[in-house]
Amino acid sequence: MGALEGCPGSRMVDMRKKEAEGTPAVDVASQLRQWPIQLHLVGPSAPYYQGADVLLSADCVAYALGDFHPKYLKGKSIAIACPKLDEGQEVYEEKIKSLIDDAKINTLTVMIMEVPCCMGLLTLAKQAAASAKRKVPIKYLVVGVQGEIIKDEWATN
């Protein structure tokens, strides 16, 4: 199979030439303020979710974005998931709904990769929000495999 064929989510892309353009290594402080972070493992009743701005991120996002911690994670509580590979995603929907209704989160920001299968995470979040009693603003950002922000918008519920 050639490099440009098959599922965009698993298609091979060689980006090694980017290394030469990279900035020198510096210490960047972690903005993570909780553990655990995987959506199966977190509980909506955790104190760091109460009234918080929550970031629901696809697993790959933090690897693609060079400035994920200072720019996107800072000030937010997080949950991560993979809409392509994770099992038991009906639990995810219930947990997101509970974050909205019970933890009374302030906003939900969904960050996904540009590959089509990743859109499933936004769909899941929207479904959960539609079934929740409370309404919260949902923002979504689409990240390119080269680490660029392709889209940054408020979702229409």
Partner: protein, 274 residues
């Protein structure tokens, strides 16, 4: 070009700049910056350029053209357009001669825009109401009073209160754009007072004049908010602040119960001629 020279005009109110250099108005219009029709015009030239969020290349060309009008004898370089993929969406660039794309609002700002839609539907009804007004008719007087109630309760208490008591608190009250918006609200309230006074005196001419003035004011005011103010505010509010606004708007709306729905029904009845 002496930078201090152009700074003098960047810090001037737009109406003064246009008065002194009328062709500046044509250039602003070209970029869909509608300051020429603003009734106040105290916003500074520099703030206007910043608040409209033009693509960097368009802003550079706009400023170069304005500078050329102010200082016709000076050498002003008008830059050639270079596309920056990450900064300029092609559909947004007026240099390309294309219309700006649809404005995307945050959820709280979208709610205010939706409320404007109902207010605009009432404004659209004003010409017919003015043309057919029979001040001796009890039915027509009741219609004017119902319109006044819509302005005072829906447009002012329900909608403008969300702006003045919640949204604007997130910004510096000394901003010229906010002063202009406040002034529009006050002017509108003044027109409504005159309509009510004229109704008591059965003065149909004054009622018609002030209804028309209100329509003209609000039409321009809504355009200013939808196209300039709200997008600028969205760009300056953090995600956390947007969430807070959404929640505060919800709390504010709860105080009004079913009233907004009743006003929607009122406008729908007017449109059906009932």
């Amino acid at each position: 070009m002496n930078i201090k020279m152009i700074e003098e005009y960047l810090n001037k109110g737009i109406k003064d700049v246009i008065k002194q250099f009328p062709p500046v108005a044509d250039i602003l219009n070209e970029y869909k910056i509608g300051c020429t029709t603003c009734g106040v015009g105290t916003c500074l030239l520099k703030d206007i350029v910043q608040i409209h969020n033009l693509p960097a290349e368009d802003e550079e060309i706009l400023m170069a053209r304005i500078t050329k009008i102010i200082y016709p004898d000076q050498e002003v370089k008008i830059p050639t357009v270079k596309k920056k993929k990450e900064q300029v969406r092609p559909e947004d660039s007026l240099s390309e001669g294309k219309k700006p794309s649809e404005i995307k609002y945050s959820p709280p700002m979208k709610r205010l825009v939706d409320e404007h839609t109902l207010i605009k539907r009432w404004l659209a009804f004003i010409p017919a109401m003015v043309n057919n007004l029979d001040i001796k008719s009890e039915k027509d007087r009741r219609l004017i009073l119902a319109g006044v109630d819509f302005i005072r309760s829906y447009a002012d208490k329900y909608h403008h209160a969300k702006e003045e008591e919640i949204l604007f608190k997130y910004f510096d009250p000394n901003l010229d754009i906010l002063k202009v918006i406040h002034q529009d609200h006050e002017t509108g309230r003044g027109y409504v007072r005159l309509i009510v006074d004229a109704l008591d005196k059965q003065d149909s001419k004054t009622i018609a004049e002030n209804l028309n003035a209100y329509k003209e004011l609000l039409t321009e005011h809504i355009k200013k908010e939808d196209e300039i103010l709200y997008p600028w505010m969205d760009r300056n509010l953090s995600t956390t602040q947007t969430g807070e606004l959404f929640s505060k708007f919800n709390n504010s709306d709860k105080q009004f119960g079913d009233a907004p729905k009743n006003y929607e029904a009122f406008i729908a009845r007017l449109e059906k001629g009932a």
